[in-house]
Assembly symmetry: C2
Homo-oligomer: 100 residues x 2
């Protein structure tokens, strides 16, 4: 399972980033935070795509992607306050099914 | 080490959340993503504070905090594309110093 978050100032590029992340099977859990499980090959392709975006002329000098592989420890000890666009248990359930 | 991210629609509440997170020793690494190392007692106090915020009238029905404890595995395998407001190695170094 991975968490990917971004800070992108350009509206068009930010929209494209969200689209690319969701096309690679990630769930949008907050406006700029995505989570999901990907096969290594898919992750590799995604990271290439994100790096390419960071080379574009629309990329701002303070823009960034954070790609964080999550350990089971994080999933089990997460604390969610308020409403997630996706239910955490559902998301975890889905991911565990995908992983099996 | 913890990652805390938020989705808060109200400007005033969002500013307050950022302030509270940084006052508890977290670094702002993206606009809505914070990271840092806290003693258990500090984390407990912070989580109480965030829960209180989620009870306020300014809290929106899609607003959320995600509090994610990070495993060393995540820190070691993070991929950062672009510029972080804080340098990752520096952040990790600081945190390791704090933890020791």
């Amino acid at each position: 399972m991975h968490l990917i978050s971004y800070d992108i100032s350009n509206d068009r590029l930010r929209l494209r980033a969200a689209k690319v992340l969701m096309e690679h099977g990630l769930y949008r859990i907050q406006m700029s935070v995505f989570m999901g499980s990907m096969r290594d090959s898919v992750l590799k392709r995604l990271e290439k795509e994100l790096s390419k975006m960071a080379q574009s002329t629309e990329w701002g000098h303070t823009d960034s992607f954070l790609v964080l592989p999550l350990h089971e420890y994080s999933e089990e000890n997460a604390n969610i306050i308020g409403n997630f666009l996706h239910n955490w248990d559902e998301l975890r359930g889905n991911l565990h099914t995908l992983v099996l």
